[in-house]
């Protein structure tokens, strides 16, 4: 009798698990699509047309987009073997500064050159054995589509982006080679100082614009 009950609960548990598994498979794209649509709607919002409100619009978009990315993983992968050479405090500082620099670079592109582009979601490929996924998208614009692939990995807080490939060129690869070159001559502390300088430069051009 006990065995019978155990088997039945086992089967029931499996049945309950099955649909959530199917839902989970659809997750990477959903994790990306929601915030991206939100960011696009802020971008389109006519109330931010005024130049004085651009900074606020920028802040709002960044708040939405920031949550989609796992910047610690981005930093870890960009630094590769050099990541371990950083002290935990430096690692945290680096992720913070690097994410701000990246954010500024991309927000400049998005905000400065937005011409009613939309995002088309083409495919979602989840890896069979590892908690990794790729969401393939196109930025649809008048002058042709730009393929953008997002690589996501599963974290405790759901699927997060750790790499973006635009036209097949990886963001991580780009920074990994640059950081490697810098760190072969300079110390990690100097790299953080360089990033801070870059950030200050970005902020200055931003202030002069608004």
């Amino acid at each position: 009798m006990k065995v019978c009950i155990a088997v039945i609960t086992g089967v029931l548990a499996l049945l309950l698990l099955a649909p959530t598994d199917a839902l989970r498979a659809a997750e990477p794209q959903a994790a990306l699509q929601g915030p991206m649509e939100e960011a696009l709607s802020i971008l389109r919002d006519p109330q931010y047309k005024d130049a004085a409100r651009k900074t606020e619009q920028r802040r709002l978009i960044w708040e939405v987009v920031y949550k989609v990315f796992d910047f610690e993983e981005v930093s870890r992968r960009a630094l590769a073997r050099d990541w371990e050479k950083l002290s935990p405090e430096q690692q945290e500082e680096f992720s913070q500064v690097f994410s701000d620099v990246l954010g500024n670079v991309y927000l400049d592109r998005i905000q400065g050159a937005y011409q009613d582009e939309t995002i088309a979601y083409l495919a979602e490929v989840v890896h069979e054995s590892k908690p990794l996924a790729v969401v393939k998208t196109h930025i649809v614009r008048k002058s042709g589509n730009i393929p953008v692939d997002y690589s996501l990995h599963k974290t405790a807080d759901g699927w997060r982006v750790y790499d973006v490939k635009v036209e097949g060129v990886s963001l991580i690869k780009n920074y990994r080679t640059q950081f490697q070159e810098i760190l072969s001559k300079d110390s990690p502390a100097q790299l953080i100082v360089r990033l801070r300088e870059k950030l200050a430069e970005q902020r200055k051009t931003l202030d002069s614009q608004s």
């Binding site: 008048k142 002058s143 042709g144 690589s151 036209e167 097949g168 990886s170 690869k173 990994r176």
Partner: protein
């Protein structure tokens, strides 16, 4: 008695000849008979246009392996490339494999950009981070003439 010693020396001579031919075949054909000092890795690319079997796999410009096979993954319709990597070259699982061109219009090869995740790739594992061949002509036409 004399006849048999002549036959013996001819036999030995032919045997040495055959061994030499065998050695040359293996050396020149770049085949490997014994000593598996390589291990296999798999990488999937969206496109490997121009890449050939036997193309070299390089890290920091140093050849560390070869492309052993290129086949189509029927499920994803992507290219699945089998790489033969020298055994002493250990790779972390966040290594990036990119299809690159030697020079502007040269042969295609695979470039490995080492990672540092701490998890090593075992034989027959997959390199998940890949960059496909960039089609220069397509890019130029897209950004020069624009799309429709």
């Amino acid at each position: 008695m004399r006849k048999s010693s002549v036959e013996l020396s001819v036999g030995v001579f032919v045997l040495i000849g055959i061994l030499c031919v065998g050695y040359l075949t293996i050396k020149l054909g770049k085949m490997e008979l014994l000593g598996e000092n390589h291990y296999n890795l798999v990488a999937r690319f969206d496109s490997v246009t121009g890449l050939r079997v036997g193309a070299s796999v390089e890290m920091a410009g140093v050849p560390v392996g070869k492309v052993a096979a290129i086949e189509l993954d029927p499920e994803r319709l992507a290219a699945r490339v089998r790489l033969k990597i020298e055994r002493q070259v250990q790779l972390h699982d966040d290594v990036i494999a990119s299809v690159k061109t030697a020079g502007l219009i040269g042969d295609k090869y695979i470039k490995l950009t080492p990672g540092g995740s701490g998890t090593m790739l075992e034989p027959d594992d997959e390199i998940t981070e890949t960059e496909s061949a960039v089609d220069l002509e397509e890019l130029i036409s897209k950004y020069v003439f624009g799309g429709v």
